[in-house]
């Protein structure tokens, strides 16, 4: 019922361009995540959809109605959007009930109706027993749920969330993820979610938009973002990855250390082979490439290893049970199960996070 259309959006502050041209349609009931390192422009993007910032160029439509364009601007209070701010923005002088009831009061809903709907909203964020508390009597997680309840109570067309879980501890963060997902399913709304946490993005989204320095790198499903990253930045930012430099010619890639492996792709010349640690098989008897195991860390669910590959250190992750099977200092064989080859443009993508 609610789609968001972004047409040729850009945003500059003075002569600093923080969002480069971007067009996309967010479908009805879609869970879209804006993912990127901090300072890349995620909040700015979200605030343009909310109407707190005006795009420098371009047009925003909600349900095919223009809300922002060079000739037209609908202020945030007329957009019928729910939003959860990074700092919660729970009003300290109102109790939980009044905070959540506020959007309905503005709409002029009748008192009994307000009471009913606030109770429902608090129910769905598991806060019913705190209805009369003041915000300073609530924990961070509870305040965050008040903010969520307030954003949902008027059944908005669109819900915007700006790093809503970043201030919570790890356990609470995980359970809130599912609660937000649950709420979205229940209310059937379109969600735009901002985070710099890739696990969060993977776990919740229908589609992820990866940003860097105001430039959209890739728009895709979580699986594709992970398995077919569009470039080295995405590959590096989402998940763990090894980058190995080499030369590609005649169906082989020769690594800087001298070893080589066969390659059937179309890239030639200087290349970078990107391979995720869990996609490398490490054995002692035979394989395609040779190296020396230098360290091995037992993390419970996995065995996190470092292999010296002709002077480059490669990270290899195998199952936790394999810990101790190979001694540090032994020679090992490596096989790459799934990998990507990028043209080498000379930029070190492991160092530039915005």
């Amino acid at each position: 019922m609610s789609s968001i259309t972004l047409n040729n959006i850009t945003k500059s502050y003075g002569n600093v361009q923080v969002i480069h041209e971007f067009s996309e349609i967010f479908q009805d009931k879609e869970f879209i995540t804006l993912l990127g390192p901090s300072g890349c422009g995620k909040t700015t993007m979200l605030r343009m959809i909310a109407g707190f910032e005006k795009p420098t160029t371009g047009e925003i439509k909600i349900d095919n109605v223009t809300v922002s364009s060079p000739s037209k601007f609908v202020p945030p209070n007329e957009r019928n959007i729910g939003m959860v701010f990074q700092s919660y923005a729970v009003w300290p002088h109102m109790n939980v009930f009044d905070n959540v009831a506020y959007p309905l009061k503005i709409q002029g809903v009748s008192r009994p109706e307000i009471k009913h709907r606030v109770e429902n909203a608090l129910e769905s964020v598991h806060l019913s027993q705190y209805i009369n508390r003041m915000p300073d009597e609530l924990s961070g997680g509870q305040q965050q749920r008040v903010a969520l309840g307030r954003a949902l109570v008027s059944e908005p067309r669109v819900l915007l969330l700006d790093e809503p879980l970043s201030n919570l501890d790890a356990k609470l963060r995980e359970s809130m993820r599912f609660e937000i997902k649950e709420v979205q399913r229940k209310f059937g709304i379109t969600v735009v979610y901002v985070t710099h946490d890739q696990t969060e993005a993977m776990a919740m989204s229908d589609r992820i938009i990866v940003f860097n320095r105001g430039v959209v790198q890739q728009v895709d499903s979580p699986i594709n973002i992970y398995r077919n990253p569009a470039n080295q930045f995405v590959a590096d930012f989402v998940g763990k990855i090894n980058f190995l430099h080499g030369e590609s010619s005649n169906g082989t890639i020769t690594f800087s250390g001298g070893q080589s492996m066969s390659y059937s792709g179309d890239k030639l010349g200087s290349v970078v082979v990107a391979v995720r640690p869990e996609n490398i098989f490490m054995t002692q008897d035979r394989g395609a490439l040779r190296g020396t195991l230098t360290h091995s860390y037992y993390l419970g669910d996995e065995n996190d290893c470092r292999v010296d590959f002709d002077g480059n250190i490669i990270r290899v992750i195998s199952s936790g049970r394999s810990y101790g099977e190979i001694k540090a200092g032994s020679q090992v064989w490596l096989d790459f199960d799934e990998y990507l080859v990028f043209q080498d443009d000379g930029v070190d993508y492991t160092k530039i996070l915005s």
Binding site: A50, P75, P76, N77, I106
Partner: protein, 558 residues
């Protein structure tokens, strides 16, 4: 379209405030400076030459610099340890002491002069006589009518300015700086000396300079204490010259005022632009709870010491003034025979006093109300917009407050009596404008700091909930800043209400103020009546303090 309108709305607001300040602040000051440097044939230093060939004026300038300088040094020497003891240690009764010292800040300084006059009069001063009896001396110990006496009263009434500035900086200081010193093995005293003091140095210097300017611009104290001892200061000379009434007198006053203004502006420049910048580096934005130093076996002795200080500097003077208001014959002690409520009766019945009180009430209320409206607008412009030029009124307001009262009043007299199309001389309006220019800054600071503590997302949350910005302001912003708005209102109201210096220059027969009336009674008619008025003002200050503490749930601090 809407956005455009909104922008021009901001511009209009800034323009209006700047216009007000330009007409009533910048223009008069510039005119004053212009006048003092021009003669019949253009630029000249004639006026300065003439003024400073009088030994009297040289003396006055020297006295001003000397007394203000000494008050600054003593004031800081008192304020720093006091701020540390009250703010950062487990001293007994910290809250009480803090309230007491902050309250002194709101008391008119001339009350101190009245009290110490009674206590340390060289012949009959109560304290003098008592001390002489106690030690069996043939002569009284102290004489208030000296430079030393002047410094004493200035110090005891201006150290709270330093106390408040230093306390505020101490509260904001990142406690981990001190913790790092302790973990490195430094004792609490060593930590104070090697970390706390150096880190706070810019604030301490700023506090000292504030005391200096305030003491140098003070008129009430030197005129009450200096006059009998024939000690002139720049402020008393200026007012003497104005009272001469002639054109020449006025132009001599102008020249002296410009000297004072130059001193004040240099000091203001140093403290805002040099110390102010450094201050910024030392404090962290986090509002962390300062760690409390345990005084151990020093706790009781130090509490006693602070109590003694409070007794001598606050309680005894205030009590003296209160007691004077009940005394029939000032030559005798206050016994039952010598007790009277006559002067309190006068306070509540004499038309002259009631009329002047009404004038003060009206002009202070109007100044506070108009001032707080400007403060709110400024707070909004400074913290919520990026409007171009919003720093200009901010700068002008700071400048106005840093200008000595005599200078403001004189500049207004010179320019607002019809010569330039505006004639508001002899009206309450000119008083109100003078008060606003002098005291606006306190109100503005209070509201701005409250506003900057409200995260903008709180207001945005109201917008996204569907509220128009006016509604959001009403429902969210206003309730949150209301206590500060009230506090800011009183911070403009109180000093305006009992103002003496500017009122002395600006009053007319119909627009006398309570401060002026009190001064008149004190110097010419009846010290007891003056004391009754002063005690009334003290009570008002106490009530206002209590009210503000209630309103802000004990978090009120200047």
């Amino acid at each position: 379209m809407q956005v455009k309108n909104f922008l021009s709305f901001k511009t209009v607001l800034i323009f209006l405030i700047v216009l007000f300040l330009l007409v009533f602040n910048v223009f008069p000051m510039c005119y004053l400076v212009f006048k003092s440097f021009t003669g019949e044939s253009g630029f000249t230093l004639e006026a300065f030459k003439r003024i400073y060939t009088h030994a009297l004026n040289w003396n006055a300038l020297r006295n001003t610099l000397l007394t203000a300088g000494l008050s600054m040094i003593f004031g800081v020497m008192i304020a720093f340890p006091l701020a540390w003891l009250v703010g950062r240690t487990d001293l007994y009764g910290k809250k009480f002491f803090r309230t007491l010292f902050v309250m002194t800040y709101m008391v008119p300084p001339y009350v101190g002069a009245m009290a110490w006059l009674r206590l340390l009069n060289p012949r009959v001063g109560t304290l003098n006589v008592w001390l002489a009896d106690l030690f069996g001396l043939s002569q009284n110990l102290f004489n208030i009518y000296t430079i030393g006496g002047l410094v004493w009263v200035l110090t005891t009434f201006y150290y709270p300015y330093a106390f408040i500035t230093i306390s505020r900086a101490m509260e904001k200081m990142d406690p981990s700086l001190e913790e790092a010193s302790k973990i490195s093995g430094a004792s609490p005293l060593k930590t104070v000396l090697t970390v706390t003091f150096p880190v706070m140095l810019p604030s301490i210097v700023a506090a000292g300079l504030l005391v200096f300017v305030s003491a140098a611009s003070c008129y009430g104290i030197p005129s009450i204490i200096g006059a009998p001892g024939q000690i002139d200061t720049v402020t008393t000379r200026i007012i003497d010259y104005v009272y001469v009434g002639s054109q020449e007198g006025l132009s001599d006053a102008t020249t002296l005022a410009v000297s004072l203004m130059i001193i004040a502006n240099i000091v203001l420049y140093i403290s805002t632009f040099i110390c102010g910048k450094k201050q910024y580096i030392t404090v962290s934005g986090k509002s962390t709870r300062p760690n409390i130093v345990e005084l151990g076996r020093w706790r009781l002795p130090l509490t006693l010491l602070v109590s003694l200080f409070a007794l001598i500097v606050v309680i005894i003077p205030f009590a003296t003034v209160a007691m004077t208001s009940f005394t029939k014959n000032l030559g005798k002690a206050l016994t039952l025979d010598n007790f009277t409520t006559r002067y309190w009766h006068i306070l509540f019945t004499r038309k002259g006093i009631l009329d002047t009180a009404k004038n003060s009430l009206i002009s202070a209320s109007v100044a506070a109300t108009a001032g707080i409206i400007i403060s709110c607008v400024m707070a909004w412009l400074l913290t919520r917009t990026r409007a171009k030029g919003r720093q200009i009124p901010d700068f002008l307001i700071t400048l106005g407050s840093g200008t000595p009262s005599v200078v403001i009043a004189l500049a207004l007299i010179m320019t607002m009596s019809g010569r330039f199309g505006i004639n508001i001389y002899n009206t309450l309006t000119i008083m109100i404008i003078a008060y606003m220019i002098k005291y606006l800054l306190m109100g503005m600071r209070t509201v701005v700091s409250a506003m900057s503590q409200i995260h903008p997302s709180l207001e945005e949350a109201a917008l996204i909930s569907g509220a128009k910005w006016q509604r959001g302001f009403w429902d969210v912003t206003l309730p949150l800043i209301a206590p500060s708005v009230v506090a800011g209102w009183f911070l403009i109201f109180m000093p305006s209400f009992y103002e003496l210096t500017m009122s002395t220059l600006l009053y007319s027969t119909d627009t006398k103020t309570i401060g002026y009336e009190l001064y008149n009674y004190q110097t010419y008619h009846s010290q007891q009546t003056a004391s009754a008025i002063a005690t009334g003002i003290l009570l008002l200050v106490i009530i206002v303090n209590w009210l503000l503490n209630k309103l802000t749930k004990g978090e009120f601090s200047i």
